[in-house]
């Protein structure tokens, strides 16, 4: 058995009286796509926030690449290789698509305290950034400010940024949301390839994509894991069908 890249043990997080994360344990193994599904408000995004470091769990531990990262902030975890995208795109709106990716390339090179050389003439920044845009199919939109990109293009741009970081695990929060069927299909194909580069924890409502991609699926309801298993297991799990897929068992 390969060591998991990411391992969550007994995480809990409450907002007042609400248990948004209730004793959640799960892991992400090399080369896999682990889908995290559940109804609205189940606590999926809250879990992603805790892994990325933007929320602190009340209890439990998060191990990444063999290290306990619980005490680290967002930038430190990002530098270790946790690449995440947001359910609601989070970009630098005034910068072009290219500059958004260049920021990630710059961060990866660890050199933000350089004061004089213009970034737009620095090919160690522009070329890798352009290559990432090409990979996600955004090269033609490189010069467009992020604020002027379409919804789907912004999702692609976020993925390009996570790629540029050389992430060792991807945390993708609903990357298909708001995409047309054509876009989702292309992205499904893309993520299928991406898992070879680094494993993916995939939060997604698009069941076709989930069933096509996932090696394992974890189902979250009211902050609790109600089932974990292969696509087949989950399709046939009576609890899941009742609680989530909305069918009478």
């Amino acid at each position: 058995m390969a060591e998991p890249v990411l391992k969550l043990s007994n995480l809990t997080k409450t907002f007042g009286a609400l248990k948004a994360t209730d004793d959640v344990s799960l892991d992400l193994k090399p080369g896999e796509i682990h889908a995290l599904i559940g109804p609205n408000g189940a606590g999926k995004s809250t879990l992603i926030h805790q892994i990325a470091g933007s929320l602190r769990p009340d209890t439990g531990s998060i191990r990444f690449l063999g290290h306990d990262v619980g005490a680290l902030g967002v930038p430190e975890r990002a530098r270790m290789g946790l690449g995440r995208t947001f359910q609601i795109s989070s970009l630098t709106p005034e910068f072009s698509a290219l500059r958004n990716v260049m920021l990630a390339v710059q961060a990866r090179q660890g050199t933000s305290f350089r004061f004089f050389r213009p970034v737009m003439r620095d090919r160690t920044l522009t070329e890798p950034a352009m290559a990432m845009l090409e990979r996600v199919g955004l090269a033609g939109r490189a010069a467009v400010p992020a604020a002027e990109l379409s919804h789907g293009e912004r999702r692609q741009l976020e993925i390009a940024i996570a790629l540029a970081l050389g992430s060792k695990a991807f945390l993708l929060d609903e990357p298909m949301a708001g995409m047309d069927p054509e876009g989702s299909k292309t992205l499904t194909g893309f993520l299928d390839q991406l898992r070879a580069e680094a494993p993916i924890l995939l939060v997604e409502h698009d069941m076709d994509a989930v069933f096509a991609l996932a090696d394992r699926i974890t189902v979250l309801v009211y902050g609790r894991v109600i089932a974990t298993g292969t696509v087949e297991d989950i399709r046939n799990d009576a609890d899941v069908r009742r609680a989530y897929l909305g069918e009478e068992a």
Partner: protein, 323 residues
């Protein structure tokens, strides 16, 4: 050349034209006015690094302006009276030395103020920078050694090797050259990796952190650099007036710097220059007509905020482009 570059050039040349015309016409008072514009512009270019690029609304930059001013005043008074400073260091009337002291002192104070203030954001940041500046203001008032409330005179303008600084036009050129250098620094910073991170921190702090860059350190560095430029301007301002007093440290001064950046264009290269020219012109011409010139300034400011978000530069050059 982009449109913004052309506009910037035109604005800077317009400033240069004032003292040249004044000299030709024998209207030496306008040289002083233009020098005041150049110095306030320099101070605002400094603030524009924090405010324009980093989105850090510092309401305490008068602290650095005043520290620069007092550096000039204190060093000059010790040189004049031939009294050594603490540790037996001599005073000086050499501008280059004074400038370095002004820059270093403002930078160190900014490091302390920034380290604390930058743990807050938004309105809290505005209030805490104001509070620190007010502390320094009251300290200056209650410190009798250098004039306290009455301020400190510089009896002979400090000197720059090879330049007769007593000549108004020459002193203008000294200030103008430093202004141009600061504009060069601003555009280098804006285009650099540091500038990219700083502008990203303003646009979306979460995004910056998610790529692995901690916004705090970037902002702190920007705050310090910003204060150093404003501190240098303070030293020149003291030399222009041959006088430094706590008023340089007051919150009016901080507000004035913010106002003239908003007038000229926040984050724009020549914004502070256009703003300073407009502000000083207003102060002089309207101030000559009515005591209530600031009321009209307020109306102008309101018009800018409502109808011309990018200030004068935005009006002339359109929206900023980031590449």
């Amino acid at each position: 050349m982009t449109r913004e570059t052309l506009i910037s050039l035109a604005i800077v040349l317009a400033l240069l034209a004032i003292p040249l015309w004044a000299t030709a016409a024998g209207e030496t008072f306008y040289i002083t006015l233009a020098t005041r514009m150049a110095i306030l512009a320099l101070a605002a270019v400094g603030l524009n690094i924090a405010l324009g690029l980093g989105g850090l609304v510092s309401f305490g930059h008068a602290a650095f302006f005043g520290i620069g001013g007092y550096a000039a005043g204190i060093l000059a008074s010790h040189a004049f009276n031939m009294e050594p400073l603490p540790f037996g260091l001599p005073g000086t009337n050499a501008m280059p030395v004074i400038w370095i002291v002004a820059i270093v002192a403002s930078g160190l104070v900014a490091l302390a103020i920034g380290a604390i203030s930058l743990r807050t954001a938004g309105v809290y940041f505005i209030m805490i920078t104001l509070a620190f500046a007010q502390m320094i203001f009251y300290f200056a008032i209650s410190w009798p050694a250098y004039g306290g409330e009455d301020g400190l005179s510089i009896f002979v303008r400090n000197q720059f090797p090879g330049v007769n600084t007593l000549n108004g036009l020459s002193f203008f050129f000294v200030c103008f050259t430093l202004l141009i250098a600061s504009l060069g620094l601003f555009s280098l910073l804006r285009a650099s990796r540091f500038g990219a991170a700083l502008q990203a921190a303003r646009q979306n702090e979460q995004r910056l952190a998610t790529v692995g860059i901690a916004p705090y350190r970037i902002r702190l560095a920007a705050f310090v650099i910003s204060a150093m430029v404003t501190g240098l301007a303070g030293a020149l301002f003291a030399d222009l007036n041959r006088f430094v007093s706590p008023s340089m440290l007051s919150w009016h001064m901080s507000g004035e710097l913010i106002v003239l950046i908003i007038l000229g264009g926040v984050g724009r290269l020549a914004g502070p220059v256009a703003g300073a020219m407009l502000y000083v012109a207003f102060e002089y011409f309207l101030g000559g007509i009515t005591e209530r010139w600031q009321l009209f300034l307020g109306l102008l400011l309101l018009a800018v905020v409502l109808f011309a978000r990018g200030g004068v530069v935005g009006l002339l050059a359109g929206k900023a482009r980031h590449g």
